[in-house]
Structure formats: C-alpha cells, structure tokens
Symmetry: C2
Subunit: 297 residues, 2 copies
Amino acid sequence: MFTGLSAFPLTPMNEQGVNEHEFIRLVECLAEAEVDSIGVLGSTGNYAYLSSEERARVAKLSVENAGNVPVVVGIGALRTRDVLANAENAQQAGAGGVLLAPVSYQKLTDDEVFSLYETVCRSLSVPLCVYDNPGTTHFHFSDELHGRIAQLPQVASIKIPPVQNDLAAAKARVAGLRALLPSDVTIGISGDPAAATGLLAGCDAWYSVIGGLYPEIALALTRAAQAGDTEQAIARSAALEPLWALYQEYGGSLRVAATIAELTGNVSQPCLPQPLRTLQGEARKRVEAVIDMLSLS
Amino acid sequence: MFTGLSAFPLTPMNEQGVNEHEFIRLVECLAEAEVDSIGVLGSTGNYAYLSSEERARVAKLSVENAGNVPVVVGIGALRTRDVLANAENAQQAGAGGVLLAPVSYQKLTDDEVFSLYETVCRSLSVPLCVYDNPGTTHFHFSDELHGRIAQLPQVASIKIPPVQNDLAAAKARVAGLRALLPSDVTIGISGDPAAATGLLAGCDAWYSVIGGLYPEIALALTRAAQAGDTEQAIARSAALEPLWALYQEYGGSLRVAATIAELTGNVSQPCLPQPLRTLQGEARKRVEAVIDMLSLS
C-alpha cells in the first residue's frame, strides 16, 4: 500500500460543509485509474480544517467509493486525544492505513513527537505512515528520530519532504535515511516537482498532489521511474515544469491544485475553507494558461 | 481593558478534560490581585488544544469568577467558521474583549489574514486585540498589514512579539508601529523578559504569562514602568532573570510556567494536553531551584 503512486485528492468544501458529491467523484476517478493507493485527508485534503465528525464521514465515503484501491487516511491533530479519535474513526471506516504528521501550535520536542507516535501506534491495527512536512507542521525530524519512530511495529512508511533536484545528492539522502530504518519500512517522496528525482533516487512511493487530479499523468511518471527508465521519468516531469513553476510562485501545491480543480469544473468555487482562498486575478489567469498549455481538463 | 497588566492564566487540563476547580482558583487569584484584565485561552491557556465546547465553558467560568476585572478571551482557530463560533461563545459568556491570532496550517497570505479579521470584526460587539505571535502562528505581520487591520473599528489593541532589549531600539519600534495605527488602538508587549523594556518604550499594556501565576510581581513591575520609574522597572525585571533564562532554555514560557504551577501545587500534574509535557528530569530540578531562589509559591 505504501509503494507506487499514492494519490491525494482535495476535499472540496465551503463554509457550509464538505461537498460529498464532488469528493466521491474525485475518489471514483482515482479508483478507476487504478492508482496504488488513495491518500485522503492529507494536507491537500485539508484535514486540519475539518471537525472529527467531518473527517470520519470523509473517511467512510472514501473507502466506500475506492473499489479495490486501499485508502490511507490522515489522522493528524494538535492533541493526542484527537489523533486517537481520528485513528479509531479511520479504522472503523475501513482505512487500509493512516498518515500522521506531528501538527504543532507550541513547538514540539523530539521526545513529545516520539511519544505521540508511540501512543497512537499502540491503538492501531492498521499500518501507519509518518508524515514529515516541516512546511506545515514546523517540526523538523532528525534522521535519528525517524529511525527511532520507525522501530514501532505499526510504522510502515515515511513520507519525506522534497529531495534535492540533483540525482546523486538525492540518492545519498534516501540511502542515508534507509540505513536507519527496518527493511520493511518504505520511503515515499512528496513535493510533486521532486517526484521523478525522488523515485529514481530509490524512494518506494510518490505521495502525489497532482495524482489526486490527474492520476494517469502521475501513473505514467511513476511507472517509468519504477521501470528504471530514467530518461522518460525525467522527461515526464520536465513536461510539467509550468505546473511546478506555479507551485513555486504561489506558496506550494494546495492553492494551485484547488484553483485548477475549480477552473476545470471538477469542484465548485469556493472549494477551500476560509480563510484559505484559491488564486484570483492575475494568478488565476496564469493557472488557466497552464491548464491550456498542458491540455488538462 | 487593553492597558496595564493583562494576566494570562494556564488552563489546567489532562486527557479527561479541563480541571475546572483549579482553573477557577487561578482566575480568582487574578481578580483578587486586581490585575487590569485577565486573558484566558491565550497561548498560555492552550486555546488551540481545546474543543469549541470546552472553550465556551472556560470563557463562562472565567467571567463568572473574575469579579469586576474584564476578561479577554482567545478565539483563534484554523478556520474562520470556528473563529466565528468561538467569538459568539465568548460574547455570550460576557467577555469584555477577544484576542485573535492568525493560526495557520497552510501558510497564510496577507490578504487571507486581512479578510479573516474583517469577517470576524463584522460579527463582534466587543473590542478585539490582534495577536501577533509568529512563534506559534508562523505568520509574520508587516507593519503595513497591522495598519490596515487596525482601521477596522472593532480593533482596539495589538499584542506584539518581544522588542529588542535596547531601550532606544524598542522606542523606535513602538513609535514606528504606533504611527500607522488609529490613536485609540493600544500596543501591548508580550514575551515576559521584554516586558519592562516594552512598557518603558511606550507600550500601553503587558500581556503577561508570569502575571497569570504571580500577579503581584507583574503588577509591581507594570506600575513602576507606568509611573516612569525606569530604574525600578528594570531592576524588577532583572530580579527575574533566572526565570527568563528558563524561558530561553526550554522553548518559551508555556512549559516553564506549567512546570512551576505543578511544582508549587497550584495545578495537578499533568496540566498540559498531550503530546505537550511539562519539564522533567534535570530541567524540572532547575525550575525547582529557581522557585526557591525567587521565593515563589
């Protein structure tokens, strides 16, 4: 489950609630494309902005509509108490695995983060992916801490932040981390622009934002890298450069992906929880141009 | 209400809930000491870790036990929807004012933060204090944005991060910000070690963590600064240097204040929500030594 392409759909929502119809359609598309797993309620799925009840409902809808594709559910929250409740709800919904980031308000210590994972793992009967995303959690994992946490028997994968664009440097990074992990714990790359390099450098999975909207595009890149076709994987990523430039310019992937989904009619506008907003004005026109250029729909 | 000493109590809690009895006792002590205002559910009060219902209850208990001292209630949350609910609950409880930080998971833009304050202010009938705390929110206000937000009629104060220890530099900082604000908007200093300098540099208020546990100590410093007694204010802050050193060493004021409260028996142990923990081992012994040295109880 924690190998190959893990596609992360948006959770379309407005101030009244989640648009369940649109969410189900996004999940169905991923199931039809036969991605390797579906990662709901990740950062792209705005897990942090939903109530426990809304998250339980989204988890349930995901599993019901994912066909045979395993669903990984994000369970992160500021409080261990709430993480445990989310974990229980995800398991009840039939999640194949869970994804946990050490979300913080007060900066966390290494010991606090270890104890969070230890406590949550004790309550789990499904495998867990450690979600290392310093851009949103503001927690910086040391490799030593990753190694300690990965010893917990429920830990099955680590979702790492983007690697350097240089393949040799990326290989060294992945090998260095892998040396500290049990052999059955996979490493997955996140940050779409780093996906090709990450996979070619030895990552086992791509935790993908664009895969949540365009699974075929992300699958083609993933399969090329898995087959060792370096040239094709790099070329497929290079073809998406205009998209990566938008991520770079507009503060990451979420607002860009959400704006694309609105512009292509895959979700209603607005689809993000206030105070977050999709791109407007000149930025939105640039996204529109990239949609045309790449023939996205 | 947004001048003088605003004392921020802890919200003692464990995994089962808030210890209401202990919380009430903390609020009563502040009311008896006649602080200028009580700031509940600030960062020190762990607002971000409580449910909306728990926060409504804490707001109610505060007002009921604060006597004639006005209560300011923290209403921050990741979602505008939840901030609006917290604002309504705080007003229903009888809060004299509210405190709002732009809490983030996804990094916020200036326009998103402005629209958050604009939307919330439209729903308010009590004044609002803008809570600028980049250490926890990871949002950095420009002075220009502070100026824009302060034009909203409900905005009555800005709680700023620590100023430099140098008095001339601090005066320039406070004057520079004040020049951009309507004349009735006050500026309050936070970060206890910077309080004396901040007040002497022209801040109207001290949003104080230590004032939540030892209001007399904080009041003496505040009154000295308000009377223009530079020497006394600086001396009173210098006397607390061992405490400021603990803040510096242990990642801020929260864990230190919570550890002091546990060690002095003002709250039960544990008093912080998991995964947060009070200081243990060697660090706890150092806190104990400072309690003895400063004759805290």
